[in-house]
Protein backbone atom coordinates (compact mmCIF):
# COMPACT_ATOMS: atom_id res chain seq x y z
CA UNK A 1 0.00 0.00 0.00
CA UNK A 2 1.35 3.39 -0.92
CA UNK A 3 1.99 5.98 1.74
CA UNK A 4 -0.62 8.67 1.41
CA UNK A 5 0.19 11.04 4.22
CA UNK A 6 3.65 11.63 5.57
CA UNK A 7 4.39 14.00 8.40
CA UNK A 8 7.92 14.56 9.62
CA UNK A 9 9.16 16.51 12.57
CA UNK A 10 6.04 18.65 12.89
CA UNK A 11 6.23 21.25 15.61
CA UNK A 12 3.48 23.73 16.37
CA UNK A 13 3.35 26.52 18.88
CA UNK A 14 0.15 28.22 19.88
CA UNK A 15 0.41 31.32 22.04
CA UNK A 16 3.83 30.24 23.10
CA UNK A 17 2.84 26.72 24.09
CA UNK A 18 4.28 23.86 22.09
CA UNK A 19 1.36 21.66 21.14
CA UNK A 20 2.94 19.35 18.62
CA UNK A 21 6.50 18.43 19.39
CA UNK A 22 8.59 17.03 16.56
CA UNK A 23 5.84 14.68 15.55
CA UNK A 24 6.28 11.94 12.95
CA UNK A 25 3.12 10.46 11.56
CA UNK A 26 2.19 8.61 8.41
CA UNK A 27 -0.77 6.87 6.87
CA UNK A 28 -1.24 4.50 3.98
CA UNK A 29 -3.90 4.52 1.33
CA UNK A 30 -7.30 3.13 2.25
CA UNK A 31 -6.36 2.87 5.87
CA UNK A 32 -8.70 3.52 8.76
CA UNK A 33 -6.56 4.92 11.53
CA UNK A 34 -7.81 5.94 14.92
CA UNK A 35 -6.04 8.70 16.78
CA UNK A 36 -6.22 8.45 20.54
CA UNK A 37 -4.85 10.50 23.33
CA UNK A 38 -5.87 12.46 26.38
CA UNK A 39 -7.19 15.98 26.12
CA UNK A 40 -4.55 18.40 25.05
CA UNK A 41 -2.44 15.74 23.41
CA UNK A 42 -2.65 17.58 20.15
CA UNK A 43 -5.11 15.49 18.16
CA UNK A 44 -7.27 18.34 16.95
CA UNK A 45 -4.21 20.47 16.36
CA UNK A 46 -2.73 17.78 14.17
CA UNK A 47 -5.86 17.79 12.07
CA UNK A 48 -5.82 21.56 11.92
CA UNK A 49 -2.25 21.47 10.71
CA UNK A 50 -3.00 18.97 7.98
CA UNK A 51 -5.91 21.04 6.71
CA UNK A 52 -3.90 24.21 6.64
CA UNK A 53 -5.59 26.16 9.37
CA UNK A 54 -2.24 27.04 10.87
CA UNK A 55 1.32 27.20 9.63
CA UNK A 56 3.67 24.92 11.51
CA UNK A 57 6.68 26.15 13.35
CA UNK A 58 8.80 23.50 11.71
CA UNK A 59 8.43 20.16 10.01
CA UNK A 60 6.83 19.02 6.78
CA UNK A 61 3.58 17.50 5.62
CA UNK A 62 3.53 15.46 2.43
CA UNK A 63 0.37 14.23 0.83
CA UNK A 64 0.34 11.87 -2.16
CA UNK A 65 3.91 12.83 -2.78
CA UNK A 66 3.40 16.59 -2.69
CA UNK A 67 4.60 18.97 -0.02
CA UNK A 68 1.55 20.73 1.31
CA UNK A 69 3.13 22.37 4.32
CA UNK A 70 1.73 25.86 4.76
CA UNK A 71 -0.86 25.68 2.00
CA UNK A 72 -4.20 27.46 2.32
CA UNK A 73 -7.26 25.43 3.36
CA UNK A 74 -9.03 25.62 0.05
CA UNK A 75 -5.92 24.49 -1.81
CA UNK A 76 -5.49 21.57 0.55
CA UNK A 77 -9.10 20.66 -0.03
CA UNK A 78 -8.50 20.52 -3.75
CA UNK A 79 -5.64 18.11 -3.23
CA UNK A 80 -8.14 15.76 -1.63
CA UNK A 81 -8.26 16.28 2.11
CA UNK A 82 -11.55 16.92 3.88
CA UNK A 83 -12.18 17.64 7.50
CA UNK A 84 -15.02 17.16 9.88
CA UNK A 85 -15.16 19.52 12.83
CA UNK A 86 -15.82 18.53 16.39
CA UNK A 87 -18.92 20.66 16.57
CA UNK A 88 -21.28 19.95 13.67
CA UNK A 89 -20.53 22.59 11.08
CA UNK A 90 -23.00 22.95 8.29
CA UNK A 91 -25.04 25.63 6.61
CA UNK A 92 -27.94 26.21 8.90
CA UNK A 93 -30.49 27.85 6.67
CA UNK A 94 -29.84 25.70 3.66
CA UNK A 95 -31.82 22.52 3.18
CA UNK A 96 -30.20 19.15 3.80
CA UNK A 97 -30.15 18.55 0.07
CA UNK A 98 -28.48 21.89 -0.58
CA UNK A 99 -25.90 21.27 2.10
CA UNK A 100 -24.78 18.16 0.29
CA UNK A 101 -25.13 19.76 -3.12
CA UNK A 102 -22.80 22.60 -2.28
CA UNK A 103 -20.24 20.13 -0.99
CA UNK A 104 -20.20 17.95 -4.09
CA UNK A 105 -16.92 17.40 -5.72
CA UNK A 106 -16.61 19.76 -8.61
CA UNK A 107 -15.28 23.10 -9.77
CA UNK A 108 -15.19 25.72 -7.07
CA UNK A 109 -14.57 28.80 -9.12
CA UNK A 110 -17.01 31.68 -9.00
CA UNK A 111 -18.04 31.60 -12.63
CA UNK A 112 -18.40 27.85 -12.91
CA UNK A 113 -21.92 27.62 -11.58
CA UNK A 114 -23.56 30.79 -12.71
CA UNK A 115 -26.10 29.19 -14.96
CA UNK A 116 -26.57 25.74 -13.54
CA UNK A 117 -28.12 24.20 -10.54
CA UNK A 118 -27.81 20.47 -10.36
CA UNK A 119 -27.12 18.05 -13.17
CA UNK A 120 -29.07 14.77 -13.12
CA UNK A 121 -25.95 12.72 -12.42
CA UNK A 122 -25.14 14.99 -9.51
CA UNK A 123 -28.66 14.68 -8.15
CA UNK A 124 -28.31 10.91 -8.24
CA UNK A 125 -25.13 11.10 -6.25
CA UNK A 126 -26.69 13.45 -3.70
CA UNK A 127 -29.59 11.08 -3.15
CA UNK A 128 -27.16 8.19 -2.79
CA UNK A 129 -25.34 10.03 -0.07
CA UNK A 130 -28.54 11.09 1.65
CA UNK A 131 -29.56 7.45 1.78
CA UNK A 132 -26.19 6.45 3.12
CA UNK A 133 -26.51 8.83 6.05
CA UNK A 134 -30.20 8.13 6.49
CA UNK A 135 -31.48 11.65 5.91
CA UNK A 136 -33.25 11.21 2.58
CA UNK A 137 -36.59 11.80 4.27
CA UNK A 138 -35.49 15.19 5.45
CA UNK A 139 -33.95 16.42 2.23
CA UNK A 140 -36.06 19.56 2.09
CA UNK A 141 -35.73 20.54 5.70
CA UNK A 142 -33.43 23.37 6.73
CA UNK A 143 -30.36 21.98 8.38
CA UNK A 144 -30.96 23.75 11.64
CA UNK A 145 -34.07 21.66 12.32
CA UNK A 146 -32.02 18.51 12.57
CA UNK A 147 -31.18 16.90 15.86
CA UNK A 148 -27.60 16.92 17.02
CA UNK A 149 -26.90 13.41 15.81
CA UNK A 150 -28.48 14.09 12.47
CA UNK A 151 -26.28 17.14 12.06
CA UNK A 152 -23.20 15.03 12.58
CA UNK A 153 -24.38 12.64 9.90
CA UNK A 154 -25.15 15.51 7.59
CA UNK A 155 -21.64 16.81 7.93
CA UNK A 156 -20.31 13.31 7.26
CA UNK A 157 -22.46 13.19 4.18
CA UNK A 158 -21.13 16.54 3.04
CA UNK A 159 -17.61 15.27 3.40
CA UNK A 160 -18.35 12.10 1.46
CA UNK A 161 -19.88 14.27 -1.26
CA UNK A 162 -16.63 16.13 -1.66
CA UNK A 163 -15.02 12.77 -2.44
CA UNK A 164 -11.72 13.32 -0.75
CA UNK A 165 -8.78 10.98 -0.71
CA UNK A 166 -8.28 11.57 3.00
CA UNK A 167 -11.06 12.17 5.50
CA UNK A 168 -10.20 13.68 8.84
CA UNK A 169 -12.93 13.05 11.40
CA UNK A 170 -12.65 14.89 14.68
CA UNK A 171 -14.77 13.20 17.35
CA UNK A 172 -17.82 12.74 15.14
CA UNK A 173 -19.80 10.95 17.82
CA UNK A 174 -19.71 13.81 20.31
CA UNK A 175 -23.04 14.30 21.98
CA UNK A 176 -24.73 11.24 20.56
CA UNK A 177 -26.70 8.52 22.24
CA UNK A 178 -25.24 5.01 22.35
CA UNK A 179 -27.40 3.94 19.46
CA UNK A 180 -26.33 6.98 17.51
CA UNK A 181 -22.69 6.24 18.17
CA UNK A 182 -23.14 2.67 17.03
CA UNK A 183 -24.76 3.85 13.84
CA UNK A 184 -22.11 6.44 13.23
CA UNK A 185 -19.37 3.91 13.71
CA UNK A 186 -21.01 1.69 11.09
CA UNK A 187 -21.29 4.63 8.75
CA UNK A 188 -17.64 5.45 9.18
CA UNK A 189 -16.66 1.88 8.56
CA UNK A 190 -18.62 1.89 5.33
CA UNK A 191 -17.05 5.17 4.27
CA UNK A 192 -13.60 3.82 5.09
CA UNK A 193 -14.07 1.03 2.60
CA UNK A 194 -13.46 3.45 -0.24
CA UNK A 195 -11.60 6.31 1.43
CA UNK A 196 -8.66 6.80 3.75
CA UNK A 197 -9.92 7.89 7.15
CA UNK A 198 -8.20 9.36 10.16
CA UNK A 199 -10.54 9.26 13.11
CA UNK A 200 -10.08 11.06 16.38
CA UNK A 201 -12.18 9.46 19.02
CA UNK A 202 -12.55 9.32 22.76
CA UNK A 203 -15.23 6.72 23.18
CA UNK A 204 -13.54 3.34 23.44
CA UNK A 205 -16.71 1.48 22.50
CA UNK A 206 -16.69 3.19 19.14
CA UNK A 207 -12.98 2.61 18.80
CA UNK A 208 -13.30 -1.06 19.50
CA UNK A 209 -16.14 -1.33 17.01
CA UNK A 210 -14.13 -0.23 14.04
CA UNK A 211 -10.45 0.31 14.79
CA UNK A 212 -7.72 -1.54 13.03
CA UNK A 213 -4.54 0.42 13.54
CA UNK A 214 -4.34 2.94 16.33
CA UNK A 215 -1.96 5.82 17.13
CA UNK A 216 -1.75 7.28 20.61
CA UNK A 217 -0.62 10.88 21.01
CA UNK A 218 0.60 12.35 24.25
CA UNK A 219 1.81 15.88 24.77
CA UNK A 220 2.34 16.42 21.10
CA UNK A 221 4.32 13.30 20.44
CA UNK A 222 3.59 9.79 19.32
CA UNK A 223 3.33 7.57 22.33
CA UNK A 224 2.38 4.25 20.76
CA UNK A 225 1.18 2.88 17.47
CA UNK A 226 -0.11 -0.46 16.30
CA UNK A 227 -3.12 -2.75 16.31
CA UNK A 228 -5.65 -1.83 18.97
CA UNK A 229 -5.22 -4.99 20.99
CA UNK A 230 -1.49 -4.40 21.32
CA UNK A 231 -1.70 -0.72 22.16
CA UNK A 232 -4.27 -1.33 24.85
CA UNK A 233 -1.85 -3.66 26.63
CA UNK A 234 1.01 -1.16 26.54
CA UNK A 235 2.05 -0.05 30.04
CA UNK A 236 2.78 3.59 29.27
CA UNK A 237 -0.48 3.95 27.40
CA UNK A 238 -2.36 2.58 30.37
CA UNK A 239 -0.55 4.92 32.72
CA UNK A 240 -1.35 7.93 30.57
CA UNK A 241 -4.96 6.95 30.29
CA UNK A 242 -5.40 6.02 33.92
CA UNK A 243 -8.70 7.35 35.11
CA UNK A 244 -9.78 8.47 31.64
CA UNK A 245 -12.13 6.41 29.50
CA UNK A 246 -13.01 2.80 30.04
CA UNK A 247 -11.48 -0.17 28.43
CA UNK A 248 -10.92 -3.66 29.63
Amino acid sequence: MATLLEIKGLTTKVSGYTILNNLDFSMEENELRVLLGPNGAGKTTLISMITGQYKPHSGTIHFAGRDITGWAPDEIFKVGISRKFQVPNMYETLSVFDNVMVSLQGPRKVFAYLWTRVKPAEAERIWEILELIGLEGKANDPADTLSHGERQWLELGMLVASNPKLLLLDEPTTGMTDEGKHRTAELIRRIAQSHTVLLVEHDMHVVRQIAEKVTVLHQGQRLAEGPLAEVVQDETVRAVYLGKGKFS
Binding site: Q53, Y54, K55, A72
Partner: protein, 299 residues
Protein backbone atom coordinates in the same frame (compact mmCIF):
# COMPACT_ATOMS: atom_id res chain seq x y z
CA UNK B 1 8.66 84.73 15.27
CA UNK B 2 7.08 81.39 15.46
CA UNK B 3 8.77 79.06 13.09
CA UNK B 4 7.24 76.21 11.20
CA UNK B 5 9.09 73.75 13.42
CA UNK B 6 7.57 75.44 16.43
CA UNK B 7 4.12 74.97 15.02
CA UNK B 8 4.74 71.34 14.25
CA UNK B 9 5.98 70.84 17.75
CA UNK B 10 2.86 72.48 19.15
CA UNK B 11 0.72 70.23 17.00
CA UNK B 12 2.65 67.28 18.26
CA UNK B 13 1.99 68.33 21.83
CA UNK B 14 -1.65 68.96 21.15
CA UNK B 15 -1.71 65.58 19.58
CA UNK B 16 -1.07 64.10 22.98
CA UNK B 17 -4.27 65.53 24.28
CA UNK B 18 -6.09 64.25 21.22
CA UNK B 19 -4.59 60.87 21.99
CA UNK B 20 -5.88 61.25 25.51
CA UNK B 21 -9.36 62.05 24.27
CA UNK B 22 -9.33 59.08 21.96
CA UNK B 23 -8.17 56.80 24.71
CA UNK B 24 -10.83 58.01 27.11
CA UNK B 25 -13.49 57.59 24.48
CA UNK B 26 -12.30 54.22 23.26
CA UNK B 27 -11.65 52.42 26.52
CA UNK B 28 -15.31 51.90 27.25
CA UNK B 29 -15.93 50.60 23.77
CA UNK B 30 -12.89 48.36 23.94
CA UNK B 31 -13.92 46.47 27.02
CA UNK B 32 -17.45 46.03 25.76
CA UNK B 33 -16.27 44.71 22.45
CA UNK B 34 -13.52 42.64 23.99
CA UNK B 35 -15.74 40.87 26.49
CA UNK B 36 -19.22 40.90 25.03
CA UNK B 37 -18.28 40.87 21.38
CA UNK B 38 -20.68 43.64 20.45
CA UNK B 39 -20.02 47.10 19.10
CA UNK B 40 -22.19 49.82 20.49
CA UNK B 41 -23.09 52.17 17.67
CA UNK B 42 -24.68 54.48 20.17
CA UNK B 43 -21.31 55.04 21.78
CA UNK B 44 -21.12 58.52 20.34
CA UNK B 45 -24.50 59.36 21.79
CA UNK B 46 -23.46 58.03 25.18
CA UNK B 47 -20.53 60.42 25.06
CA UNK B 48 -22.92 63.18 24.10
CA UNK B 49 -25.13 62.52 27.08
CA UNK B 50 -22.14 62.62 29.37
CA UNK B 51 -21.27 65.99 27.90
CA UNK B 52 -24.78 67.26 28.49
CA UNK B 53 -24.49 66.13 32.10
CA UNK B 54 -21.52 68.40 32.45
CA UNK B 55 -23.40 71.26 30.85
CA UNK B 56 -26.55 70.75 32.87
CA UNK B 57 -24.64 70.54 36.08
CA UNK B 58 -23.00 73.85 35.43
CA UNK B 59 -26.04 75.63 34.03
CA UNK B 60 -28.73 74.57 36.41
CA UNK B 61 -27.39 72.97 39.48
CA UNK B 62 -24.20 74.40 40.75
CA UNK B 63 -23.98 77.55 38.72
CA UNK B 64 -21.10 78.89 36.68
CA UNK B 65 -18.96 79.96 39.55
CA UNK B 66 -18.52 76.66 41.20
CA UNK B 67 -14.92 75.71 40.77
CA UNK B 68 -15.24 71.99 41.03
CA UNK B 69 -18.09 71.32 38.62
CA UNK B 70 -16.08 68.95 36.56
CA UNK B 71 -15.21 66.73 39.46
CA UNK B 72 -18.88 66.35 40.20
CA UNK B 73 -19.75 65.92 36.56
CA UNK B 74 -17.55 62.89 36.13
CA UNK B 75 -19.31 60.58 38.58
CA UNK B 76 -22.67 62.00 37.61
CA UNK B 77 -22.07 61.29 33.96
CA UNK B 78 -20.78 57.83 34.78
CA UNK B 79 -23.91 57.06 36.75
CA UNK B 80 -26.43 58.44 34.29
CA UNK B 81 -24.93 57.00 31.15
CA UNK B 82 -24.26 53.76 32.98
CA UNK B 83 -27.95 53.57 33.80
CA UNK B 84 -28.87 54.19 30.19
CA UNK B 85 -26.44 51.47 29.22
CA UNK B 86 -28.10 49.15 31.68
CA UNK B 87 -31.48 49.89 30.17
CA UNK B 88 -30.22 49.28 26.65
CA UNK B 89 -28.49 46.09 27.64
CA UNK B 90 -31.41 44.58 29.47
CA UNK B 91 -34.02 45.44 26.89
CA UNK B 92 -32.16 45.01 23.65
CA UNK B 93 -28.63 43.73 23.66
CA UNK B 94 -29.08 40.76 25.86
CA UNK B 95 -31.24 39.04 23.29
CA UNK B 96 -28.83 39.45 20.43
CA UNK B 97 -25.35 38.73 21.72
CA UNK B 98 -25.09 35.91 19.23
CA UNK B 99 -25.70 38.25 16.33
CA UNK B 100 -23.05 40.95 16.53
CA UNK B 101 -23.87 42.47 13.17
CA UNK B 102 -27.41 43.05 14.24
CA UNK B 103 -26.41 44.68 17.47
CA UNK B 104 -24.75 47.22 15.21
CA UNK B 105 -28.09 48.01 13.65
CA UNK B 106 -30.06 47.95 16.87
CA UNK B 107 -27.63 50.21 18.69
CA UNK B 108 -27.59 52.55 15.72
CA UNK B 109 -31.32 52.85 16.30
CA UNK B 110 -30.69 53.57 19.96
CA UNK B 111 -28.25 56.27 18.91
CA UNK B 112 -30.82 57.89 16.66
CA UNK B 113 -33.37 57.89 19.44
CA UNK B 114 -30.94 59.43 21.90
CA UNK B 115 -29.97 62.11 19.42
CA UNK B 116 -33.56 63.03 18.70
CA UNK B 117 -34.45 63.10 22.37
CA UNK B 118 -31.49 65.34 23.08
CA UNK B 119 -32.54 67.59 20.26
CA UNK B 120 -36.11 67.78 21.50
CA UNK B 121 -35.10 68.42 25.09
CA UNK B 122 -32.13 70.71 24.66
CA UNK B 123 -32.55 72.05 21.17
CA UNK B 124 -29.86 71.72 18.58
CA UNK B 125 -27.98 74.92 19.33
CA UNK B 126 -24.48 74.48 20.52
CA UNK B 127 -24.04 74.74 24.21
CA UNK B 128 -21.02 75.53 26.18
CA UNK B 129 -19.55 74.13 29.32
CA UNK B 130 -16.63 76.05 30.62
CA UNK B 131 -13.29 74.88 31.76
CA UNK B 132 -13.08 74.93 35.55
CA UNK B 133 -11.24 77.96 36.86
CA UNK B 134 -8.39 76.14 38.44
CA UNK B 135 -7.51 74.62 35.15
CA UNK B 136 -7.66 77.80 33.17
CA UNK B 137 -4.68 79.02 31.33
CA UNK B 138 -1.73 76.97 30.37
CA UNK B 139 1.93 76.42 30.34
CA UNK B 140 4.10 78.59 28.18
CA UNK B 141 5.85 76.23 25.89
CA UNK B 142 7.46 78.20 23.14
CA UNK B 143 7.35 81.94 23.18
CA UNK B 144 3.72 82.82 22.56
CA UNK B 145 2.36 79.33 22.31
CA UNK B 146 0.58 77.98 25.30
CA UNK B 147 -0.17 74.40 26.13
CA UNK B 148 -3.41 74.58 28.04
CA UNK B 149 -3.61 73.08 31.50
CA UNK B 150 -6.87 71.49 30.61
CA UNK B 151 -5.29 69.44 27.92
CA UNK B 152 -2.73 68.22 30.37
CA UNK B 153 -5.57 67.40 32.70
CA UNK B 154 -7.10 65.31 29.95
CA UNK B 155 -3.92 63.34 29.57
CA UNK B 156 -3.95 62.69 33.30
CA UNK B 157 -7.57 61.58 33.17
CA UNK B 158 -6.80 59.23 30.30
CA UNK B 159 -3.95 57.61 32.16
CA UNK B 160 -5.99 57.34 35.35
CA UNK B 161 -8.91 55.76 33.50
CA UNK B 162 -6.72 53.28 31.72
CA UNK B 163 -4.93 52.42 34.94
CA UNK B 164 -8.21 52.04 36.77
CA UNK B 165 -9.59 49.76 34.10
CA UNK B 166 -6.37 47.81 34.09
CA UNK B 167 -6.55 47.43 37.83
CA UNK B 168 -10.13 46.26 37.77
CA UNK B 169 -9.55 43.77 35.01
CA UNK B 170 -6.29 42.37 36.23
CA UNK B 171 -6.22 42.77 39.96
CA UNK B 172 -9.69 42.04 41.19
CA UNK B 173 -11.74 38.91 41.51
CA UNK B 174 -14.33 40.40 39.29
CA UNK B 175 -11.70 41.09 36.69
CA UNK B 176 -10.57 37.49 36.86
CA UNK B 177 -14.06 36.36 36.03
CA UNK B 178 -14.19 38.85 33.19
CA UNK B 179 -10.98 37.55 31.73
CA UNK B 180 -12.19 33.97 32.05
CA UNK B 181 -15.34 34.82 30.15
CA UNK B 182 -13.37 36.56 27.47
CA UNK B 183 -10.99 33.67 27.04
CA UNK B 184 -13.42 30.80 27.04
CA UNK B 185 -17.01 31.58 27.67
CA UNK B 186 -18.27 28.05 27.79
CA UNK B 187 -15.78 26.79 30.31
CA UNK B 188 -16.27 29.89 32.40
CA UNK B 189 -19.95 29.22 32.65
CA UNK B 190 -19.24 25.59 33.50
CA UNK B 191 -17.17 26.89 36.36
CA UNK B 192 -20.16 28.70 37.73
CA UNK B 193 -19.47 32.18 36.43
CA UNK B 194 -22.66 33.95 35.52
CA UNK B 195 -21.67 35.07 32.06
CA UNK B 196 -24.86 37.00 31.48
CA UNK B 197 -24.21 39.07 34.57
CA UNK B 198 -20.63 39.70 33.52
CA UNK B 199 -21.82 40.89 30.12
CA UNK B 200 -24.29 43.22 31.71
CA UNK B 201 -21.80 44.62 34.17
CA UNK B 202 -19.20 45.19 31.51
CA UNK B 203 -21.68 46.89 29.24
CA UNK B 204 -22.77 49.20 32.01
CA UNK B 205 -19.18 49.94 32.98
CA UNK B 206 -18.19 50.63 29.39
CA UNK B 207 -21.18 52.91 28.95
CA UNK B 208 -20.30 54.75 32.12
CA UNK B 209 -16.80 55.31 30.78
CA UNK B 210 -18.29 56.78 27.64
CA UNK B 211 -20.26 59.16 29.83
CA UNK B 212 -17.10 60.18 31.63
CA UNK B 213 -15.48 60.83 28.28
CA UNK B 214 -18.30 63.16 27.38
CA UNK B 215 -18.22 64.96 30.71
CA UNK B 216 -14.55 65.60 30.37
CA UNK B 217 -14.80 66.64 26.73
CA UNK B 218 -17.57 69.13 27.28
CA UNK B 219 -15.38 72.06 28.32
CA UNK B 220 -13.26 72.02 25.24
CA UNK B 221 -15.74 71.03 22.59
CA UNK B 222 -19.13 72.54 22.04
CA UNK B 223 -21.99 70.42 23.21
CA UNK B 224 -24.65 69.50 20.70
CA UNK B 225 -26.83 66.47 19.99
CA UNK B 226 -24.69 65.28 17.14
CA UNK B 227 -21.29 65.86 18.69
CA UNK B 228 -20.70 62.25 19.55
CA UNK B 229 -20.70 60.58 16.19
CA UNK B 230 -17.22 61.55 15.13
CA UNK B 231 -15.76 60.36 18.41
CA UNK B 232 -17.56 57.08 17.97
CA UNK B 233 -16.08 56.50 14.54
CA UNK B 234 -12.65 57.45 15.83
CA UNK B 235 -13.07 54.99 18.70
CA UNK B 236 -13.92 52.21 16.29
CA UNK B 237 -10.80 53.00 14.31
CA UNK B 238 -8.75 52.88 17.49
CA UNK B 239 -10.07 49.39 18.12
CA UNK B 240 -9.53 48.23 14.59
CA UNK B 241 -5.96 49.49 14.57
CA UNK B 242 -4.95 48.73 18.11
CA UNK B 243 -6.66 45.43 18.46
CA UNK B 244 -9.34 44.25 20.77
CA UNK B 245 -9.10 42.39 24.00
CA UNK B 246 -5.96 44.11 25.11
CA UNK B 247 -5.74 47.47 26.80
CA UNK B 248 -2.41 48.14 25.13
CA UNK B 249 -4.34 48.15 21.94
CA UNK B 250 -6.33 51.14 23.08
CA UNK B 251 -3.16 52.96 24.00
CA UNK B 252 -1.36 52.06 20.79
CA UNK B 253 -4.32 52.70 18.55
CA UNK B 254 -5.20 55.93 20.25
CA UNK B 255 -1.61 57.05 20.26
CA UNK B 256 -1.00 56.47 16.58
CA UNK B 257 -4.31 57.77 15.36
CA UNK B 258 -4.34 60.79 17.65
CA UNK B 259 -0.88 61.99 16.75
CA UNK B 260 -1.11 61.17 13.09
CA UNK B 261 -4.43 62.85 12.63
CA UNK B 262 -3.41 66.00 14.46
CA UNK B 263 -0.14 66.51 12.66
CA UNK B 264 -1.42 65.48 9.25
CA UNK B 265 -4.51 67.64 9.59
CA UNK B 266 -2.30 70.56 10.39
CA UNK B 267 -0.11 69.92 7.38
CA UNK B 268 -2.90 69.40 4.93
CA UNK B 269 -6.48 69.69 6.04
CA UNK B 270 -8.91 67.79 8.18
CA UNK B 271 -10.26 65.60 5.46
CA UNK B 272 -6.96 64.60 3.97
CA UNK B 273 -5.60 64.03 7.44
CA UNK B 274 -8.37 61.59 8.19
CA UNK B 275 -8.07 59.96 4.82
CA UNK B 276 -4.36 59.38 5.25
CA UNK B 277 -4.88 57.91 8.70
CA UNK B 278 -7.63 55.70 7.31
CA UNK B 279 -5.39 54.46 4.51
CA UNK B 280 -2.64 53.85 7.01
CA UNK B 281 -4.99 51.75 9.13
CA UNK B 282 -6.09 49.75 6.12
CA UNK B 283 -2.49 49.02 5.22
CA UNK B 284 -1.63 47.96 8.74
CA UNK B 285 -4.69 45.73 8.87
CA UNK B 286 -3.39 43.83 5.90
CA UNK B 287 -0.41 42.82 7.93
CA UNK B 288 -2.13 42.35 11.28
CA UNK B 289 -5.80 41.73 10.51
CA UNK B 290 -6.91 41.82 14.10
CA UNK B 291 -5.09 44.97 15.10
CA UNK B 292 -1.62 45.56 16.44
CA UNK B 293 -2.26 43.96 19.81
CA UNK B 294 -5.09 41.74 18.77
CA UNK B 295 -5.12 37.98 18.85
CA UNK B 296 -4.03 36.98 15.37
CA UNK B 297 -5.15 33.79 13.80
CA UNK B 298 -2.25 32.27 12.00
CA UNK B 299 -2.79 31.38 8.37
Amino acid sequence: MITFQDQIFMQFLTGFSVVAILMIAATGLAIIFGVCGVINMAHGEFIMIGAYCSYLLREYIVGPNFAYTLFLAIPLAFAIVGLIGLLVERTIIRWIYDRPLETLLATWGVGIILQVVAKLVFGSELKEAKVPHILDGGVRVIRFLQFPYYRMFLIVVAIVLLALTFYIIFKTDFGLKVRAVRRNRRIASCLGIDTAKIDMTIFVFGSGLAGVAGAVLAPIKTVSPSMGFNYAVDSYMVLVLGGVGNLWGVAAGGGIIGEAETVLSFLTNNVIGRLLVFLFIVIIIRVVPRGIFGYQERR
